[in-house]
Symmetry: C2
Subunit: 331 residues, 2 copies
């Protein structure tokens, strides 16, 4: 794999220009391009420029509204709703997260239901932004059915990622962001592209047999992480990001989808809580002592530690030439 050195500014511009050419307006293109740039900056490649062909195909097919005008309103003082107007999620976030944070700061807890949105990025930008405001946050989305419930051989759940962030007074938030599939589809696609095998337990082939070939799993079905317990978490996410917020579960999202390769329409659940109100106590002393203990254990790395370290490097990133060519062709 040959690569080219591209500055963060140029990554943003490349993403932005590509989206504008595909029909997005300035505001939507800027919001998505910022998300793409931050993924590359943090080393989260499967959510960076790798996603551009998918972003573009869904704009061109008309499934995603490149000129979306997301609207926020309050169902109650602590239950906010944002209608995504069928656009990509980042602009809906820009217009909603501050209000969610304000409600949680005031009342101790608040929730944001996002509907009619297309989420095609990592989830940590949402939880991390809330934790940077002193809140703890949980978010999840569902996707296309590609994961078999534990014990089954047919897909019903999406890869259904879950992200959690916890605020730290003098450090970046503690954040995790993980698919509840044994492996994220983006990572399986990258493994397939690079011809790498994936670990046993990742998925089944079209005949329902275990395989380590990512290309076979893409045709077959993924498994949830952690057996029946991970399967329960994936099920919970279907309900939280679907019916709870007024959107569809994965299988219904797929029925509605036009198959253009981009993300389906779906919902997002975002919860924000204020530890200062909920604990009525000096929460940070407890949590900092706990996080320090984790960091001191042999063999353990704090989640997001590598991502936050990558972030300090504001220099150029190495981008796969084949990917750059692919993007150049679609402009």
């Amino acid at each position: 794999m040959t690569t080219t050195s591209v500055s963060l500014e140029d990554i943003f511009s490349l993403a932005r220009q590509t989206l504008l050419t595909a029909g997005a307006n300035e505001e939507n293109a800027n919001a998505v391009a910022d998300t793409v740039m931050r993924a590359e900056r943090d080393g989260s490649h499967s959510h960076g420029l790798f996603r551009m062909p998918g972003y573009v195909s869904s704009l061109r097919s008309g499934k995603v509204n490149g000129c979306a005008d997301p609207q926020l309103h309050s169902r109650t003082p602590v239950a906010l709703h944002c209608d995504g107007d069928l656009g990509y999620a980042p602009l809906a976030h820009q217009r909603s997260l501050d209000a969610l944070a304000e409600a949680a700061h005031k009342s101790g807890i608040a929730v944001l239901s996002i509907t009619r949105t297309h989420h095609f990025a990592a989830l940590w930008p949402e939880t991390e932004a809330l934790a940077e405001k002193g809140l703890t946050a949980i978010t999840c989305v569902s996707y296309m059915p590609s994961v078999a419930p534990f014990g089954a051989h047919k897909p019903l759940y999406g890869t259904n990622p879950l992200s959690f962030a916890w605020p730290r007074p003098d450090a970046p938030p503690l954040v995790f962001d993980m698919a509840t599939a044994a492996m994220a589809m983006g990572d399986i696609q990258i493994a397939a592209r690079d011809g790498r095998a994936v670990p046993p337990g990742t998925g089944l082939d079209t005949a329902g047999k275990p395989t380590t070939d990512p290309a076979e799993i893409i045709k077959g079905v993924l498994l949830p992480f952690g057996g029946y317990k991970g399967s329960h978490i994936a099920m919970m996410i279907e309900l939280l990001a679907g019916p709870l917020v007024g959107e569809t579960v994965s299988f219904a999202s797929k029925t509605r989808d036009n198959g253009d390769g981009g993300p389906p329409q779906g919902g997002q659940f975002i919860l924000a809580m204020n530890p200062t109100i909920l604990s009525g106590d000096d929460w940070a002393e407890q949590s900092e002592a706990f996080i320090e203990r984790i960091g001191q254990l042999d063999g353990v790395r704090l989640p997001a530690e590598r991502r936050h370290k990558n972030r300090h490097d504001q220099g150029a990133r190495q981008i796969d030439d084949a990917l750059l060519e692919k993007i150049a062709k679609i402009i």
Copy 2:
């Protein structure tokens, strides 16, 4: 193992009388005995009479207040707090869950922080009670450090159970309640008592080596379910049931504990959400179609299905004679 047939009424009376003899007052004894009876009724043996010796030893040591008078107050209209007064959790639940449900019904979301409590039961009674009122609910507690974070060999996390319930219009709620350890400590203790091996991946011995001998794991350390992803969930629960609600994480709970074999003092996080407000939509149609699909898959059983089936049988339960003798001796 020989057993004796005991009616549900007699299970309740046995638990109640044992607790009263050990110093609990009527109200606390009734609340705990009801929880014990319901566990046996549902076939959840590791949370039934099996726990009586632990309940009693913590009352007798004075660690748990058998005459606790839990106090509920509102930090905001949607952030409730219950000070458990160092008693067992069931009475705190009896005095708090209706108010939590009312707040969630009105505002769409509400949270209950319980502090200074000793939780020694399953979590489904709390989530199921909320789901029976049309809400979706999530709860978690931490425990004593017995689980090594993924990659480590030393315990830091509790077995940290998580329960989720989703309301169904014409059926018992969809509920799961699971330890984030590869196996619940109660089940490992029962396996050790019965001399049964546990599955590989459940834990490590005192030398940090994998073992399937439950007695060795009790001396050594449990592993989280699902590798690093399950470890993340266990970590999140430490923060939600500890610093977020104004209580300690597992390792700090242990430092404070007197080692009497009963449950340590800790916190509980209970979240309740009203899908009718959050979705602004006909949520039940979506979720019922989804739950039906899961039930139709070959090889898949809905969580709690067996428990709810057991519940229909109001007849006597078979109780281990050795356990009955043990309880008779402590009265």
